[in-house]
Subunit: 196 residues, 2 copies
Amino acid sequence: MSPRAAHPHPPDVRQHLLDAALRAFAAHGYEGATIKLIAAEAKVAPGLLYHYFANKEALLTALFERSGALVAEAFITVAGIADPRERLAELLRVSARIVRENEDFWRISYGVRFQGAVLAGLGAGIAAQSAAFHATFVLLLTELGRPDPVTEAWLLFASLDGLFQHYILAPDTYPLDAVVELLITRAGGGAAAETP
Amino acid sequence: MSPRAAHPHPPDVRQHLLDAALRAFAAHGYEGATIKLIAAEAKVAPGLLYHYFANKEALLTALFERSGALVAEAFITVAGIADPRERLAELLRVSARIVRENEDFWRISYGVRFQGAVLAGLGAGIAAQSAAFHATFVLLLTELGRPDPVTEAWLLFASLDGLFQHYILAPDTYPLDAVVELLITRAGGGAAAETP
DNA sequence: CTATTGATTGAACGTTCAATCAATGTCACC
DNA sequence: GGTGACATTGATTGAACGTTCAATCAATAG
């Protein structure tokens, strides 16, 4: 039927180009990664990118969509845990795992966050994802019977986000797991380890 | 003595140009703020910027130096407080005040943080400031007799940083003071407000 | 074998930007 | 009131960017 591709290039070219863009954006930032550079990273001519994507920003948007799906999936899985205390703990652990396993993407995401005005389409998406995170935390903390779940959710979200950013800035040395576990104790436990 | 200026333009032109650059960078990002735009913001011809600064990046560096001095000064003041619990509380409150009062600068700072590779000179400075923050927290938490001051310092620093970023992203609606006070309770109190 | 298709190339285009520089304006001092 | 030194201008430069497009290529269909 359709005279499908059968060229010297990889099987799914679109994904291949996205992977190259991911690496280039992560290494040089969105503005710093030129189309030529992305094309070189993919071992492809610059023009080809415009066969699969409308423009440079569409590359970025596609990356965010791919990752958004990943996060949503993880959230649904965790939502099945009955005990709220354990659900909270797992939510934080799973988030950390996603960040660790998609380091390049999160580097881009954090790098692009404060240029919302520049990248109009993205600002809304990021804000929505943030709101979802906060709302989830509010529900969870309410379920745990916390006195001020809204403020606590702000703090929890900020802590987690700051944590991930610090990890992304120094992935080789940052004690991600230890800090996440401490955050879980603080947020879910209620007793902040006054200890012996 | 010094052949001071005496021209139609403002008294200290350098500071005036820096202020204009601050506003332009904050509004459009580092890459997005063109030399023309900064010059227009300062009501000055583009060429003049190169009389006071070597290039565009030097503008950014100067802004970081100006702010670094501000932070250092605040740290020294707070260091005089005897009671470590109160010192910690004041440190967080003062930091929040600095961020709130220099919103534009911190927007730039956070926006530029993940482009370390691009802006070579800055990466080191930011890293040093981060290290100083963490070290201060470690000392403080040690003084407070905490069991694992290093990990707790990482968490405290990440929480504070994440908090400030979330505030910068929504300064009009974010409950900065409430969350800071909650963080103080968590970090300094030891008891995480199990409450009535 | 020939026609048709869609993927792919890479040179070229128009625009934009940081940076330069010759020209002009303004003061300080004599 | 003339002179030298510096502040300031804004047109200009050259490089780099995202994007376009005519040409090429490999593969299938008839």
